[in-house]
Structures are given as structure tokens and as C-alpha cells.
Symmetry: C2
Subunit: 528 residues, 2 copies
Amino acid sequence: MSDISANAPSDLDTLTTTPERRRRSGGRMGERSRPNGGSRYRNLVNRLAKTELVDEDALDAIHDASLTILEEIGMDIMLPEARALMKAAGADVREGSERVRFGRELIMDLLQSVPRGFTLHARNPERNVQIGGNNLVFAQIASAPFVADREGGRRAGNQEDFRRLVKLAQCYDVIHTTGGYPVEPIDIHASVRHLDCLSDMVKLTDKAFHCYSLGKQRNIDALEIARIGRGISIEQMEAEPSLFTIINSSSPLRLDGPMLQGIIEMSSRGQVVVMTPFTLAGAMAPVTIAGAVVQQNAEALCGIAFTQMVKKGAPVIYGGFTSNVDMKSGAPAFGTPEYMKAVIVGGQLARRYGIPYRTSNTNAANTLDAQAAYESAFSLWALIQGGGNFIMHSAGWTEGGLTASFEKFILDVDMLQMVAEFLTPLDVSPDALALDAVREVGPGGHFFGTAHTLARYESAFYSPILSDWRNFETWTEAGRPTTYDHANRVFKEKLASYERPALDPAIEEELDAFVAKRKAEGGVATDF
Amino acid sequence: MSDISANAPSDLDTLTTTPERRRRSGGRMGERSRPNGGSRYRNLVNRLAKTELVDEDALDAIHDASLTILEEIGMDIMLPEARALMKAAGADVREGSERVRFGRELIMDLLQSVPRGFTLHARNPERNVQIGGNNLVFAQIASAPFVADREGGRRAGNQEDFRRLVKLAQCYDVIHTTGGYPVEPIDIHASVRHLDCLSDMVKLTDKAFHCYSLGKQRNIDALEIARIGRGISIEQMEAEPSLFTIINSSSPLRLDGPMLQGIIEMSSRGQVVVMTPFTLAGAMAPVTIAGAVVQQNAEALCGIAFTQMVKKGAPVIYGGFTSNVDMKSGAPAFGTPEYMKAVIVGGQLARRYGIPYRTSNTNAANTLDAQAAYESAFSLWALIQGGGNFIMHSAGWTEGGLTASFEKFILDVDMLQMVAEFLTPLDVSPDALALDAVREVGPGGHFFGTAHTLARYESAFYSPILSDWRNFETWTEAGRPTTYDHANRVFKEKLASYERPALDPAIEEELDAFVAKRKAEGGVATDF
């Protein structure tokens, strides 16, 4: 692209590598810009003005209503240790009850220490990602129980497919981190699954990764695997966020034990919590989008405030995941107009609080048809205009998250790359304005052979992975392939070209020894 | 939708029904808001802040470069009558040359009389559309040589398919006007094709329509058919724009005879000119998007200025149609990141000049696959964020405009309706914030049975035409239909339900008599 140079180097490196404390005045959020050659889609920045779907008064009303919920109704906090911390912090905790209420001043005070942005560290420093400000990070699909490709059909998740999806995430620079497990490998026993999976994350990719908060020991194992992968000390790890966890509230208005424990383990060690209520309007949240966002905001603020009770300055991300249901069936719907509105208002709230914003690339399609594409494209529209910073499920999500699709992964990568190109500033240099080329060609000519064209045509435009721009006749001779056919071919080609990223043999040895030791100990109990 | 009422009636009716002259100071552009029951998708308004892709300096540079083109290089004006008008207006016209140059002051002076907005009148006043400001009008596909549906395959255009596509346009409120001929019916002789087609437009729809500028007589016949359809006098017709024509420059930098004649015939009678250069970067325009937009702007301003030479205050729309080509094959590409940028910068230019903005819903797919959806969705994203007012090819366009697809028409209607829902203001009334419902349900409950949900669930969310949200098992039992399958079913069902809109028998009689008379006269010569 001729316009890479339009990203001024002055945008680089203004983010510190440790969480940056909130500064109430001054200090524009640092951004990383387009990189040098060979990694065009790393360090994406969204400089577009974000969409304000509701005005300041309405945003105030949503904010106020969510604080009223926390103050008057409260949340069920299903872990005594968490309630004790909350009580110590000044929340209204009553003996014999899980219900905890939070004064609005308490919540707002706790938000003061939330970092506006931070670096999430990968074992390869070139894969570090900047979270917050105008930075844009895409994480792969996570947590699907099923996996699908055209030949193999839809099947339960397994280790081989898990590994293939993780490898695909490594193959594309536009996928900045893996998410959780792209598919749940149920052929690995639950007691040791996290050990095998996280070990794979370190070996098969050099990108940052996620750990599930499913009990304290899993968090601790994950922290150790991330530390070993980076080859650093515990102290350095605690100063440099290197692992993230998704914390979901049990909507409405509950935080369960493993999730609260996850916050305690991760926040206390300076690791990243992504606090994400899953508030389906009409099911676990009010049927109105505004009401569902109010509830989302209450639950998100509660969890975010708790991270700061655990450790002031702990890195945390505001997660929004409000969508609607199909009122005919109760099934979740995604990529809808209602989803778009919720995503954008969620972004307004996160920016109001100065907290990085997580959202998702969603759809509810059962196959790689037009629906899969338009629901995802509408999601992308909303999350870009809404200022999403950290995008979960960026590639591979189908069926409302039930299935990780290999073909959808490629379709999403293509769309993410289009978004990245769209966000690249337009070159408006005198050379790009092309007055001389127009003078040369003049009325009635064409630009195919001009020096201006010849100097640029090979890299002038984004070259899509999947779009088939052949004319109808040529396309017909080729057997009329659809996007699904192309995506099916591409994911297999890409997997065949996969190369394992370099890993220090000493680190690999330490990692293997740790996993072997923990397996010998029996992993973790599975009776949770 | 519960939030219809959020559109204050005070937004209504602030547009005059005749072209409103530019007001340099004050006077917010009138908007029509969501209507009363039964026509939810008429009179759409896009209140979102528009995206500024380039800053003011860059916009100035584009503007200046385009005026330099008109001043130094000029355009080939391939009609003596037009050159004479231009000479009289002060352009640099030289004997024996088609080349005409335009001083920048001349162009800017002429833009002063362009209306910021106007009403395009239909024969049914309820179908009148507001052009300009924040108003958003969707016109059907136009001008495809081929037509396709799944059963019939891809075939040359014909009258039956023409009529079926026009009927579909009538069936959906979100299609506000027809465009040109949705498909070219080549089984009607070219000498009388416009008579049959425009007569059908009047009879089969009650919406405003388009006439091709392919020689003076066709314009005159179209004007008469539109006048008869509305049942009004010539004087009223000239005061009320009731017909539009697309004027394409022959890029680079030429306006041919029929197009110039079309401007003369239409503008002199107060009808709508949509001045649209088709500037493919790397082919008929510079390979850089900024350069292609510079050339687009030069050609558009030239044609727009000419409308004002013909008649000050004539309604005109700034058309942008810049995209890139596939540099491997030279084939046009659409819905690309480059297309998005061009659409948005085009909108910035049109707003700078205070002229309504036309753009298009494009894609280059050969079938109704994911590509068709994502390229169109990316186009829609750009044209909404870019502030498009008048959207050509809104529904049915495939293959870069070569084919009108029945199934794609339905897919597009669904996406347009989603856009319309997205643009509907979010209800943030106290009732929508739903504090009472949250109080009622409390932590750990669900909202399915609450009074708040029951009162709203039937109309709370957009009900899509095509999205298949059934679970995988139910969807599998149903034969795993794709979006293509659903669209194929829906267009046939919709056609079966088509009802011809009421038409005064006296008008129909006058129309038939006019067409018969003109046919008896031989229509128009076809040796142009």
C-alpha cells in the first residue's frame, strides 16, 4: 500500500510497557501505528471518530440507572473471599447473604485507578499488543463446543482441531492473539486439558493468550505457563501483563465463585481481566436494548471495581456482549441492528470511563452463507464505529459461538484485513492526488499504461483472499466456486504452509517439565 | 418497534416541496422522520455524525486539485449546444475544439444556486422522497444487461423479468424509488423500449422513477409520461421535480452528446440530474484513490455547474462512483476498502458543497454467496457513514452491475431494512431503561415472563427476512437451507403477493393513448 508512510512514527511507543495509570488531565492515549514491512496487520489503530449513538444526557441516564442497580438491588457475589474483600473496600455486605450493594461513590472511586491502556505481552515481543486508546486488537474465536469444516462436517471439539485452529491463528498477522480454546478439546481429560492446551498455545504460536477462570489452580498453572513461555521472573511477569482471562457474570446480577476467584488470581498478579456480562435482551436482561445495556453496565462496573479492590491499577477491559434473542424461538441473535446499537453504546460507556473496550465479531449462521457474512460485517461495522479495542471471536465464530468453522475463520480473516485496510489513512500527498497523471492522460485516454499506474499497480489495492472477481464466463469454466469453496481450499493450503515459531529449547524443556510434573500430580480436581 | 416515538414530529415537514435555495447561514436541513404505522421504512433519516476520513486540509487539497483540472486541462464537451451555453456562462470555449476550460471562480459561483435539498415527487404523494440533508433514499438496481434467478440461471434481460423486478420494488417500502430499468429488456425494440418501460413504471409502481438520457426525444417522452402519471400540468411539473436521470461522464474528462442533452432537457424543466462520474482507479482514473476522487470531483463539478448554466436552481445530485480494479485482471472491484474510502471522501466533498450525495450498494460477486453479502455490507457501511442521500443500485446488483439477481434483491432489502433499524434512534426513555423490570427479576432470574417483556416482545426487535436462527439440529431437519435458498423462496412468494397500486383510470387511459400515439409515430430513431 502506498499509504503506509502516512502513519507518522511519532505515534509509536508512547505507551509504556506497564499499565499506565489514569491521568485525569492531558496525555493523549498512545497508539501503535502501522508497522514496517512484513507485518502489515500488526498494531492496528482506529483513528476514525467514534459514533455517538446516544447523546450525553442519554449516556448519563444509562450510567445513572446502572449505578442505581448496584446501589439499590446489588449483585449476588458467590464467593465468601470476594465478599470479604468487598466489605473491606466499603461495600454493603450483610452476614448470611450473598447480596452485596455498592454505593455509587465507591464504584466511581474504584474506577479512578483503572489503567486507560496497557501492553499485553507475548513471548515474542513483536507480538505484544497495545490495549486501549485507538488501538485495535483481534483475538481468535474462543470456547466453541463444536468444530466444522466442509469435509468433516460438524463434530465435537478435539485436540487435533484445536491445534489446527491455533496454527491458523499463528498464520495471519491480523489475528493478534489467540482467544480461549478456539474449540473445546473434549478428548483431553478436563483435569489436564488446560495444561495441554496452554502448552500448545506457547509452542504453536508466539502470540499472547488467555486462560479460563475455572478454579484457582488453573489460573495458577496458566500464569506459570505464560511466565515460562516468556522466560521471565515472577516479578517481571507481575509488572507486565502477559495473560488475559474472560470473566462473565451470570446475568442477571450474579458473579459466581470461579469467576470471582479468577479476578482475585489474575488481578492480584497484574494480569488482564476482561469483564464481560453476557446480557441477551429478552432473556437474561430486559427486552429493551437500553435496559440490557444498563444491566450490562452495572455488571461490568461491579466486576471492574472488584479488580481494583484486589489490586489498584490492575489492567482490566470493559466487555460488552449485549444482543437480542429471536422472539419466536428464544434463540440468541447476533449481528443484528440491536446488536449494533448495543456495541456502539457500550463503546460510549467504556470511553466515558476511560477503560479499554472489548466486543465481538458475531453471527448466528449455521453455514458459510450470505448470512454468516452480513451478520459478521454488521458486527464489524458496529465495533469499528463503536471504538472496540479488543475484539474477541474475531475469526471462526459461527452458530452464535457453538461452532468454530475453519472456512469462517478464513472469511473473517479476509474481512478483518479489509477493515485494517479501510482504517489505513488515505494517502493525500501531492503524488497521490495525481494531477500530473491526469495531465498526461487527458480527456478520453486511460491510465493503464501511465508511469503513475505502473509504479503502483502491484500494491495499490488490497488483494482479497476470497473475493472472486473473475468474469462470469471464466468463473463458470472454473466450476462456479462460491466463497465457501474458496475458504475451504484456503484454510487447507494455509495449514500446509504453517511453520512453528521459534522457541528457545530451554524454555520448551522447562515448559514440558512443568506440564509433566503437573500431570503427574493429577492436574486439577474436576468436581467443581 | 418501541422506539418509533423517539422521532419527534417536529422533524417533519420542514422541507419545502419545491427546491429549496441554498441558505448560507442558518436553517438546519429539513428531515423527514419515521412515519406512522404501515410504512416503517419510508422517509429514512440518517442522524449519525458522518465519518471524516480525511481532514480539512486534505479535503481542500482534493478540491483544489479538481478545480485545477477544470481550469488547466478542461473537459471535452461533445455537444455544440452545450459549448455555446458554457461560453455564454463564461467558460473558456475555443472555436474548433471540444475542449472547454472552467475558471475556479466560475465553478464556485455556479454551485451557489444548487439546492441543498428538494422533494422528488411520485404519482402517489405518500411516496414522495426527500433528497439531501440527512435524508436517505434507496433506489433499486438499474441498467443490468443480464438477469438471474436460481432456476432460470443467468440470461439476457427481457420484459417479463423487467416487470417482475419493478413489481418487487413496489413490494418493499424500503425501496423508495425505482432506478433506471432494473434489467434492460432487449426483447422490446430500442425505438419504443422507453415508452413501454416508463409506462410500466407508472402502472406497476406508484414511486418516483428515472429516465435514461439517450437522446432528446426520450427525455421529452419521459417527462410527458411522468407528467401524465402525476396528473398535473406542465407548469406544476416544472415546479416539482418528478423524474430523475443519471448523467455519467465518459471518464476521463469527457461529457458526451446524449448526456449533455439530457442535462439540458432535464435541468431546463426543473427535473433531477444525478451527475455521476464512473471513475475506476487504475483504469479511467488515476490508480490512487485520492487521485481518482480528484478526477471524480472535477467531472462531477463540471456537470453540476452545467445544470446551473442551463437553469439556476435546477435540482442536482453529486454522484460518486469511484472504485478500484482488480490489478491482476483489470476487472472492476466493488465493496472494497478502497471503495469505502472513496465513498466517504465523496460524501465529505458533497457536504462541503452542500449538494445532495448519491452513491451505490455494490459488489462483484457472481452468485449469492458470502462475497455478495460482505461486499454489499461494506458498501452500506461506507455509504451510511459517508452520508449518502440517494443510493442507487440499492437492491439486486450483482457481478459489478452486469446482472440483476432476484435473490440478491431480497438479500439487499433485508440488509437495507437492518440499516434502517440501526438508524432508528435508540429508545432511552425511563421505561426503556427498565429499572423496574430489573428490580422485579433481581439477581439470578430471567426476563422471559416479566410484564416489561410481555408488553414488548412481539415488536421489540427487527424480524429479518432471511436470517435463519434455528438451531443446527432443526436447521438440519429442514434440509440445511442457505440464505440463497431462503431468498429464492421469498422473492417468488413476494411476487405472488404483489398488488398493483391504484391508478386513476383517466390517467391510465391518457398514458396508454400517449404511448400508442408515440409508437405509431415510430418511437425514436435508433441510429444514435
